[in-house]
Symmetry: D3
Subunit: 336 residues, 6 copies
């Protein structure tokens, strides 16, 4: 089993049940989550030593975050407490043709307003196999754009592999800002989650002009790897959105000049798609830590992501054994 450190923001999600609009809701479900926290939970579920580093306010919501992470066995010794507030967002669940709707209220959070790194970096990265972060962190502020690079250098120096999920959010920064920052980050990265839009918008790769889905994915992976040969593994999911209730999901991975693809999962109905990508990333990092074959890596990760869609909340709640049993058993069988 490995040790992984993930660092990023964690927020309170307040969501309605399917069929109720935000403006009509008399109550909200509360879930705590964030891309990097979700990856840490996945890895803790699989038995790895997973550390989540962040900053949350010294109030009951901050304690709730800590309890949430502890529940899954995530190491919270690097979870700082202090600052003004916990970022929140409101999610109106989508149904059928009607997509979900989000109201963000995340500005000014304890994590977002950090101006300097308040962790002891040597301690943070001690004996760490992988350091994972996402493109949301540099999107939060000019400070964070600088701090992100500082973190990467320190992690690299401490001997960590770097895992980076581009995860572009148009509400947080412009494509220009994002592109500049991402291009500064990628030279440090070993494992990268990025898709065709990332390739085009941030790396200036010309659009694919062929007709094969599979070739298209390979094209972008190859083109992204050219300027960054340091990135040994690229991965992402292809999602066909039939509706807010029905998606198809296929995992893809590019490594050692070869392309791997999982079976296609029909997810019908979707209980909660928030965190689906994080469950995939968590599965990929697990597979890489276990030195599984790349085919097994992508199969496991996609199965984990498909499972995530069947439970409420942002985080994967399945153990390695459960993900593997799911892969083996096939669709919808009862385990008695």
């Amino acid at each position: 089993m490995g040790k992984v450190v993930t660092l990023g923001e964690i927020m309170l999600r307040l969501s309605t049940t399917a069929g109720t609009r935000l403006a009509q809701a008399e109550d909200f479900s509360a879930h705590y989550g964030g891309g990097e926290a979700n990856v840490a939970i996945s890895l803790a579920n699989y038995g790895h030593h997973a550390v989540f580093a962040s900053k949350v306010p010294t109030n009951e919501l901050g304690h709730a975050v800590k309890k949430h992470l502890n529940r899954y066995g995530v190491d919270t010794s690097q979870l700082l407490m202090g600052g003004p507030r916990l970022g929140t967002y409101y999610l109106e669940a989508g149904v059928g043709e009607r997509g979900a709707s989000v109201v963000y209220d995340r500005a000014g959070s304890s994590f977002a307003v950090m101006e300097k790194l308040e962790w002891t970096l040597e301690e943070l990265f001690q004996n760490t196999d992988i350091f994972h972060l996402s493109g949301i962190t540099p999107a939060l502020s000019a400070s964070w754009r600088e701090l992100t690079v500082t973190l990467l250098k320190a992690a690299k120096k401490a001997g960590c592999k770097i895992s980076f999920d581009v995860n572009y959010r148009g509400k947080l920064w412009t494509p220009e800002e994002a592109g500049k920052s991402i291009r500064a980050i990628l030279p440090y990265v070993d494992y990268c989650s990025a898709g065709s839009l990332d390739a085009q918008h941030f790396l200036g790769i010309p659009p694919y002009t062929g007709e094969s889905d599979k070739e298209e994915t390979i094209y972008y992976y190859q083109k992204m790897q050219e300027p960054y040969p340091n990135i040994s593994v690229f991965y992402s999911t292809k999602r066909t959105v039939h509706s807010a209730s029905v998606n198809e999901l296929t995992g893809t991975l590019w490594a050692d000049g070869a392309y791997y693809e999982s079976q296609c999962h029909l997810i019908d109905p979707i209980i909660d798609r928030v965190g689906g990508g994080d469950a995939f990333a968590g599965g990929i990092l697990h597979g890489l830590l276990m030195k599984d074959s790349y085919q097994k890596v992508v199969d496991f990760a996609t199965a984990a992501s498909a499972l995530k869609h069947t439970v409420h909340g942002d985080c994967n709640q399945f153990s390695q054994e459960e993900v593997e049993a799911f892969l083996a058993l096939g669709s919808g069988k009862i385990r008695r």
Copy 2:
């Protein structure tokens, strides 16, 4: 923005959650609704001055009706209070192959037992663009059959366009009674929601014998318009009921001798189909008030109806901007 007056009965719906039978239920969800009230709410959501005229008892249920309408900005100055009771009905939600089941308990309601018009008609119809009512009102009693015509004459005299939704309910009157009354109403009507069964049963139009769906709809619209050239717009939805959980819905409209049809919406899953037709009618009247192109009118109205199926309760809960964004965005995308 226009001013629309709708008049009709509003009831309390007591419904079970999917998977629970009426005879087993330990609690019921409460929703207030009625065709004309639902149309008024749609129009208020779109920014029009919508007045709902009716009569409800002077008790907490009557006040609940008022609060429900106020919530959406409907003008309740013509909502009379008094009389014996609020009509109610019990709805056992359908699931998959099993259709919904209804137990009516609506007889003797404050509205149904009205013997004379208790509104000041000049005031009621002042500066009003459209007066909307449905075939349920004349179905309630012999008195209401007369009062309906009185209302139509007064509205016409006050310069209103008349909108009429045939909305035949076999539990309330016989086809013979209905036909007689409807034929007395149609000469006053400008905009009419009616389908092929209405055409056959109440206007004696012989069944279509061709094989084209589209031609069939046009055939009935044309045949219905022949005796009533005063009706400038006909509209209705075509619904393919795959199951209680899955329907396909297409809106159709006939105006100026031309036929317009929306895209087909796949509604899967259906959260609540009650009020789907009213949301369609509300969208049509909105489009007509806005003098939109007929294609836009029917597209908007069908989108509004499709959205209604995704929320609990009888009434449309979407603004004009939201319906338009839904039309633009396509199926199931998240709006972040």
Copy 3:
């Protein structure tokens, strides 16, 4: 109307709502059920005199079982009270590709630990048309394997028809134990629910090698009947599991050398599939008691089973009239 006695274990099921894992659940839904109890409830719903014989502890859970059965009009005069505990199990609802998951906690129940028959058998089987039991009972203990045969002999002597549902549960006994016991039971049986796996594993019938689904079913029925010509009716369902949320279900029946098959029901979504087989068996026994045509028997039983999948809880909650209206009305229509 007939009189039917069913005898077996009844348990408390504690289940989560879809989307919540067992280890995460803050509450559980409570349902009482068991194959034979469920069959008794079906038959009571259809107007028969249905007796359920079992043993439950003298505590609030035992009383809950009694109230549950009484609610549907099942005769509980043969429901003994005493012994150590009520068997329970935990069900994590499946969703889409992810199947349901079960944690059993049924060992040592008041029924399972019975060492002798505590009923007066003459009284138990008085004026009884059918005695129904399942393969779960002999699976519970060596004692029960003996007691089962004693029961069958007494029932036979009292003039009952014997109905037996093989219902093999791999967690309770081995295929060898099961085969031995089942082969001891079948000579007493008149109506038998068994499928192709039962035929192969317990009766040693060689696998079908053809390609026709229908032929395959007939093949097994024929082969099973050969050694047991006393069994006049075989029946079972064919279930295609698309996912935990979507199944297709077809009922089949073999009698008088002829094969009967219902239409195929698409069950989408499944609310609760527990008890679906029992609802089928209940429908079959009803049809046989009513001396309906075999086609009607299997159509009715399959419709009853399809309906069961649309409600929470283990038991069929539909009357004969409702099942027949469902058959007549078709998919998803509202009954207003």
Copy 4:
């Protein structure tokens, strides 16, 4: 154990949870109850053969009534099905200083509109020890005023003891109507629940002018018995309403010229006081059937009533053993 027949109306109660107003409620709890039905359930809980005779509509609500009664083992063979509707009422739960608020919607129910007795009276009263009814039934219509007397005569003739609960409801009839009817009923009565207001308003007994609570109760019992020496037992509760959440309750009984009084129960908090009086009456009839000492009769009945206040729903849900254990154990102890 005895046999008791109770006859009266049963209604659907729709209630809010404490702290939610009727006009604000998004859901209602559903409970079925009525004075005579509640008494029948109490007696069935104690092991008597309790028959409830009434009439409910042939719809899902009617079936719900039947299932509700069956659950507790009440004999529903005399529960007729048919007629227009089930009476309902809405209850806004009271809290502290704010009392509960009721909206009745009971007019025109299947029971209330009965014009003749649809039971075979010989069968109804066969082998019956006690026939119980209340003053609500004659209050429903002029027909019911006549039918009530017819029932009493038939019951008397069949050898039943007559139990009558005055239960005056000012919303249903005037004191004059009530007085006339009640005075016509009392000559048939053996056991009567009536209080000081009943004595004054219906029997013209002059108000007590002394100062002793106990003497006052005795005074009214004596004065009521004078004109009706046929009434061998009078009983009622004295309730001190501190608030909607806190009441004190003492049971009183008058028999053989002697007065009996239970301890005073402090009921804090009240979960649901509906049916508290019926639980008391049920306890009294049980004690009389068991020929317990009058002190035990009133102690048991008051304990049963106090227990009723601690559970949701109209009916007593405690067995004889549980009521007796409650009496023995004292206040608030855990039974482990």
Copy 5:
């Protein structure tokens, strides 16, 4: 009936149910409220024309605020939409000895960050009898301290009476800041809600040294009025906090040199005390508008406040008739 304009911030309250801690909560109840909005709702309930002026974001939460106010008939034509966010706070309900606990997250709200008055003041105050605001508004920012005085001058000029609720919140400003601002406001005020702590901290009134509760209240009212003879009515409640579940509440009022006091209400249990003071203020303003006797004014207002404690949510949900019936009926009686 009068016209009242209230102006202030409105927030989203997210609260747990009693017995669940914030850090443990899986869902939150959502209520919208603020002192001035709550006063407006009270007045609309009593039939006055109540306008609430504020600013909320152009998102679903802003629309929820509008719908909430509309529901009670509050005029929302002066509710501006725009700005960054809606202020929120989290409330952990108190129980018994354990008081409630609050986590504020209100900084940077659309209302709080306003730098100039975005209403047309002539229009805002047109034909207005009373303009009501509270000390929370000037506490929000230096800008608001200035804007508050600008508003008061304009209201005064337009002929409004000014109502001011001191409502000191130590989390928002220091006593020094508050004192300075309050002393700048009071010269414009006609009706003022202030208590003994306000008198001491903001007006420098020396502590009362006597022993009579009543005299103490009068002392502070007199001393406060001395420097501000323009204030014709002072009012406040005296609350004895026995626990988070039990309070005693008495209303007091000082006008025309005389002191008025309501009866003492025992509030047990408290369902929700948020908004209790606003319900009192709303009742006072109603009484003043109706020119009731001062004794009736304070009795009505205290009854309204006591009722508020019995319902969930921030706002009074009782009509004038209901408050008066409550005063007349006494404690805990059922209204049937």
Copy 6:
């Protein structure tokens, strides 16, 4: 901060909400708890290193136990997985005069059937300040009676202080068995929770004959200490049960020949009293580890216990700061 190891059984509690009987419940709340686990959680909340050693089955319920403990930061490295089942019990919540009612289903649990100690005792007790266990463990089996003494010897040898909570349960063993076992345990104990009944039944101390409550408590503590001078601290709570909803609670402690008593807490209403004693024990051990004054120790522990009664679930959910703030703030004040 110290290190404490607690060892014992943990069970799943299934409870109804107040007002619903077990036999009526359609759902149960799920809580995991046990005396020793609850003490460990308290200590983890206060910042100590708390280890809980036990054995739970390798299924979802076992994982749920682990997640529950992790959530509060309890060290679960000594939580073994395996064995047949998790013990459960059903709790019907008490209300007012009606006490709670319990149905146990705990026999044969993974922990109860342990025949040997499966922990490495050196590792278990390494660097441990206190080893805490209760009288429930030796009550489970003859094996556990032996194993308990083995554990105590090992803990003593490793230098731990021994904390023992007598916690007699009459359903598990006889007073004779208990007395023999307890007398074998006490010679190893340093801190002991025991009350007057324990003193009389297990140590043969003659009943106190005086009249002072305080003297009585001191008498029993002195008499218990006489034969066991090794026990330096005795502690227990005095509980006055007014009803299931209202208790008074006082903590008492005896150390160094002096008696200490906390203030009396009025707990009204009680949300959940399960675990109240464990929260007291956890507070005592915390105070002893912190070397607080004995008065502070008992005040803190009693406050912690009082707080526990205000939240759902078995475990204390309050930090040291929160307990201290509660002690300082007094009854029912809001912390804003």
